[in-house]
Symmetry: C2
Subunit: 225 residues, 2 copies
């Protein structure tokens, strides 16, 4: 098996999307699934699916396809979600609260087990049964509750200090929803998740929808500069 630390980011992302679809297939009671079916669901090619999965061993049989349950189990193991992860949310505003309540996380083995904020009016309150702790207790709470991942939802000006505190406390991965880039030591995984950046990707793409669609929409529907 390929060493886990050589999995490229893009492969990780596709594996995660395969897993979503495999979960869906399992819920529908499908026993087997072909690489072509997986590819069609994600808009990719069957060859890409086979290549991605073959990195991790021999799955599936030609003409038969993959056993849905076997492949689910394997992909969950590769992604590291065959175990539960304790996750912190740093910054308990609207978005932080929604993340703390997001049912999709515990369903996928991610438990929001710690919340942090600087606001004295928020510290000591509970969201989904988890008490909000003060930032100066971060290191202690992270150790106590075995927190390994964190979601950062603080304002721009507080983001770097919070990321530093998380790294110092031993957190291994940070999902950064703050509207600014932060730096972390090597060895800490960092993914930008600024929702406005995501929307800007859409507006950047929508500025230039293909001519075919613009024509279909009529002259008023024409897009672009």
């Amino acid at each position: 098996m390929t060493r886990a630390d050589s999995i490229p980011k893009a492969t990780c992302l596709r594996l995660s999307l395969y897993l979503r679809h495999l979960d869906h297939a399992a819920a529908q009671g499908l026993g087997t699934i072909s690489s072509a079916q997986l590819a069609a669901a994600l808009g990719g090619t069957a060859a890409q699916v086979r290549k991605d999965l073959s990195r991790f061993g021999q799955f599936g049989r030609p003409g038969v396809g993959y056993q849905v349950e076997d492949l689910r189990r394997a992909v969950r193991r590769i992604l590291g979600v065959d175990r539960r992860w304790q996750v912190a949310v740093v910054g308990v505003g609207n978005l932080g609260r929604a993340l703390a309540r997001h049912q999709g996380f515990p369903q996928r083995n991610f438990d929001v087990a710690a919340l942090f904020d600087v606001d004295p009016g928020t510290v000591g309150t509970f969201v989904e049964g988890v008490e909000v702790s003060a930032m100066d207790r971060l290191r202690e709470v992270v150790a106590e509750r075995n927190i390994r991942l964190a979601m950062l939802t603080v304002p721009a000006e507080a983001a770097q200090a919070a990321a530093d505190a998380l790294a110092k406390a031993g957190v291994e991965g940070i999902l950064n929803f703050a509207p600014i880039s932060v730096r972390v030591p090597s060895g800490v995984a960092l993914y930008p998740a600024d929702l406005t950046v995501l929307l800007e990707q859409l507006s950047c793409a929508a500025r230039c929808v293909p001519a075919a669609r613009a024509a279909e929409a009529g002259p008023e529907g024409r897009i672009g500069p």
Copy 2:
């Protein structure tokens, strides 16, 4: 100038991250910024920054750097955020509500101007002054309010139908927070934004933090299979 529709996704993303940093620099009162400074903030190289920006014309002067305000204006135009966008949220649960309230969107010219849900108890209620409409009014409301982008926060089983309805109503871009891949016609931009997929990217990376860090953390800190 390069045609807007040839901007690769990765460039779009970097431009958006440059813009974040330029906003930050402007707030700090900086008049000029070098490609090296922009690169350092994002963990990239100065050559990459210069290459990205040179696609769109001549910015900056050797030895002087970029004028922060000029570059901000140019990047905003390239990203299409020099104008306001009306955005819909489809699915008014915890996450949908948080998105409707997210202060970062209007600050960046994205107005959540329409909300849709299937729950009769939710339809007719207001979030941040916007009334929740029934799904069967989607086409009408999208046209009335000039909605061009949408954030999809419905359960997996409702996602494809909602994406179909949005595409049919003429929406040009969809940010898909639902835990399943959806298909859209060509000409509609689609970005996956499943938050659990983002967390899985972290767990995938954290499974295999480099040996250096594991050693530093001591034997109990060892990660991976």
